[in-house]
């Protein structure tokens, strides 16, 4: 984190509005040692990203993405190697679309971090049901700060109706699951009650709910609740919201999406608009939300998503399925561009999830039945 000296320099720098950015940097570079200069640039970028998350008018996505990319190439050793091996010179990248996307599985094999892992204040793991190794997303203090800002602002923008009402989490608390990004997220959002493997408490709380509540849980947690109380109904007070994330694989029985949403509506006496979906992954600091059973997922203004045709490596033709590639300015400490194995189809400025590109068939010895979702 920046020290007082750096903060002072940053304040001065912001005041020098008449001078061009390069002029300013050259001037400062001459006056500061390289390490301090880099730290100062880091700080300026961090501040700019924070400001942009708060206000889309405070910056330009492309410019910020390129600056963050430069930082990550410089500081993230594994990513730098990858970019070089891809034949890309970072200084020649002029659009966020050209930023090389790291495959999400790289988080399993490499420490994709811009700072020493010892300095990480949090490490978030994926928890695939059959995956040999979990992804690890290291975050230093600054990264956590930006993450928290992103998830809070993203939730507020996507689900304004949740503002001011109690948030109940159907998952372990951060104390019980310190490496769960989802638990961290719900704690940051101010979850007031946690329900995990104690469905009777949840059933009781739901029955007693008199004020609107936002119930946030994983798909398999909802199914486990319903299976434990096959005949129960919990009519939620008007204005209540149900937010579902993740899948079912390996946890409970599989439930088709239409059946699942029908269950949500029926059990909670809630309309389709009150049913929301969240899509995220431990490798990413930002989330995508949808509304209703068929609503497309949309990301916040500090993200961009492309749908890639895996055969050509280019954007999938309109209306055809492809793999999601995310660009997330809130991914401060790792990589901002991530290539997922999640299949989706574009709709407007959002996308419809189709699941994960499966590889469940026998291929010699390489069977890998991965979890549909990459996050607990």
């Amino acid at each position: 984190m920046p020290d007082d000296f750096q903060r002072s320099v940053a304040r001065t720098a912001r005041g020098l509005v008449a001078r061009s950015r390069s002029e300013l940097h050259n001037s400062l570079r001459n006056r500061l040692c390289v390490a301090r200069y880099n730290s100062f640039v880091d700080h300026c970028l961090f501040e700019s990203l924070s400001a942009f998350i708060d206000d889309p008018g405070a910056g330009d996505f492309n410019s910020l993405a390129l600056q963050l990319f430069s930082r990550q190439v410089m500081c993230n050793q594994a990513y730098r190697r990858y970019v070089a091996a891809s034949g890309i010179q970072s200084e020649n990248v002029t659009s966020w679309r050209e930023i090389p996307a790291a495959p999400s599985v790289a988080f399993k094999a490499y420490d994709l971090t811009c700072s020493p892992i010892e300095s990480s204040s949090r490490v978030f793991h994926s928890s695939g049901t059959t995956e040999a190794r979990a992804s690890k997303h290291y975050m230093d203090r600054a990264a956590v700060e930006l993450y928290d800002r992103s998830l809070t602002r993203g939730f507020e923008d996507a689900i304004p109706g949740a503002s001011g009402q109690p948030l109940w989490a159907m998952m372990p608390s951060p104390n019980e699951a310190p490496h769960s990004s989802l638990s961290h997220m719900l704690a940051t959002l101010g979850a007031s009650r946690w329900f995990w493997d104690d469905w009777s408490s949840l059933a009781g709380a739901l029955a007693e709910a008199r004020e609107p509540v936002t119930l946030f849980g994983t798909g398999f947690a909802f199914v486990a609740l319903f299976d434990n109380y096959p005949d129960a109904r919990w009519p939620l007070p008007p204005g209540s919201l149900v937010v579902n994330t993740g899948g079912f694989k390996g946890r409970t029985r599989e439930v088709a999406q239409d059946e699942f949403y029908a269950m949500l509506r029926e059990r909670f006496t809630i309309d389709d608009k009150g049913c929301l979906g969240e899509y995220g992954m431990s490798e990413m600091a930002s989330q995508f939300y949808n509304q209703g059973e068929v609503g497309p997922y949309k990301g916040p203004h500090w993200t961009r998503t492309r749908i890639i045709d895996p055969e050509t490596g280019a954007d999938a033709a309109e209306g055809t399925a492809g793999l999601l590639r995310h660009y997330d300015l809130a991914n401060w400490n790792s990589v901002l561009a991530i290539q997922t194995q999640d299949l989706a189809i574009a709709e407007g400025d959002g996308f419809h999830l189709l699941g994960r590109a499966p590889d469940a068939e026998v291929r010699g010895c390489s069977l890998t039945v991965e979890a549909l979702w990459n996050r607990p």
Binding site: A78, R81, Y82, A85, S86, A102, P103, V105, A106, A109, Y110, D309, P310, E311, G313, A321, G322, L323, Q339, Q341, L343, A357, P358, D359, E361, V362, R363, G364, C365, S366, L367, T368, V369
Partner: protein
């Protein structure tokens, strides 16, 4: 499909097998099967055989030009003389042979149905084959047709059905209605069958992978051409497809071999597996390439069409590939080969070995056998094992005896 369909098919096979055993006796039935197989092999060796024409028209996902490479290894092993030698060598107790053997096939290679049903015939057993889908039936149907031409009564000992895997009710019925069950598939599939099948009744062939070895002194261009064929065959989906090729020497030597391998792969006229261009395949290939780019010092050779990928890596030993034409090349020194294969010990099936000297070949062959490799051949012949191959080290015929 109702379980009764499976029950009825098994009952029909059992009755036909009993009838034949009553007519010929068990040994006579075995001899009749040997003669029939010999005749079928002769038919398929004839380039003008009508069955080959049928294969050219309807061969499912695997074109006849590709399967021919495997047939070149299989057919010579199907002569009456060689089959009798196999029977003499293993001397299976025919009195304890199952009347009906159930077979569960994976879809990754086309001739699996041939070898497993022919082995069953050699112990005088009928075969009820579960195919992963009807589209996979093409090559087994061709075998049944050929058998029917030369010995209809023997052809009547093979029946095939298809249903989607993981249907416990149907899978259990197959296990219950047959006397022995040979299962090819994922470890998950094997576990599923093991859960309702007596261990003595189940002969399982789970996940296995293969490797290549290029020893110092080997003719590298020839080795590269052979391995290119081994990799492209069945889109690298067979258990005998090489995942990692070890090149004796330094990293530069391995890179030189990669150059040659890349050229051979690019120049290969091996036809593609049909329906190859799937999103899943492309996604896996791209992911493997991106991951290789992350690796320190790794070098890549790749084609734009995603048909093949060669990644030269420094370390880590044997590596499982996602298949789909992705192969790793790893330098080694002789003393370290055992260590480099250690993590895959027990999962290794076959090895293609290129060597300039027989003594080197023997030395490495012994080591590979120690690591569990059950089939060693020269590059280019990995997908062409004979019927007599002791897969996973199991006896070819006696493993089927109760």
């Amino acid at each position: 499909m109702e379980p009764s369909v499976i029950d009825n098919a098994a009952a029909g096979l059992r009755a036909r097998r009993r009838d034949l055993a009553a007519v010929y006796g068990l040994m006579g039935l075995q001899m009749r099967a040997i003669d029939a197989i010999d005749e079928v092999a002769a038919l398929w060796r004839d380039p003008g055989y009508a069955g080959r024409g049928a294969a050219a028209r309807d061969s499912g996902a695997f074109p006849i030009e590709m399967v021919d490479v495997s047939l070149q290894g299989l057919l010579p092993s199907l002569t009456a003389q060689k089959l009798r030698a196999l029977v003499r060598e293993e001397s299976p107790d025919l009195a304890r042979a199952p009347e009906v053997i159930g077979h569960v096939l994976a879809s990754n290679t086309p001739l699996l149905g041939w070898t497993t049903t022919l082995r069953a015939l050699l112990v005088g057993s009928a075969s009820l084959v579960k195919l992963p889908s009807s589209a996979e039936a093409a090559w087994l149907r061709l075998l049944a047709r050929s058998l029917n031409e030369v010995a209809p009564e023997i052809a009547g000992l093979i029946d095939m059905l298809s249903w989607t895997g993981g249907n416990a009710r149907l899978d259990r019925t197959l296990a219950c209605s047959t006397d022995k069950l040979v299962v090819y598939g994922s470890d998950t599939t094997l576990e599923a069958y093991a859960s309702f099948c007596d261990p003595d009744k189940l002969v399982g062939y789970g996940h296995m992978a293969s490797l290549g070895v290029v020893l110092r002194g080997a003719e590298r261009g020839r080795a590269a051409r052979g391995f290119a064929r081994d990799i492209l065959m069945y889109d690298q989906g067979g258990c005998l497809s090489p995942h990692t090729i070890f090149v004796e020497g330094r990293f530069d030597d391995a890179c030189d071999f990669c150059d040659a391998l890349g050229k051979s792969l690019g120049a290969s006229d091996m036809p593609l597996v049909r329906d190859l261009r799937t999103a899943r395949r492309a996604a896996r290939v791209r992911e493997a390439r991106e991951m290789a780019r992350f690796e320190e010092g790794a070098r890549l050779w790749e084609d734009e069409r995603l048909r093949w990928t060669v990644a030269c890596i420094h370390s880590g030993g044997f590596r499982f590939s996602p298949t789909y034409g992705v192969v790793y090349v790893h330098p080694f020194v002789r003393d370290e080969l055992e260590l480099l294969l250690g993590s895959a010990c027990g999962k290794l099936q076959g090895a293609g070995v290129a060597s300039g000297r027989e003594s080197d070949m023997n030395e490495v062959g012994k080591l590979l056998a120690k690591m569990g490799v059950s089939y060693t051949c020269c590059p280019g012949a990995m997908q062409s094992p004979p019927l007599q191959w002791r897969e996973n080290g199991k006896e070819v015929l006696c493993s089927l005896i109760n």
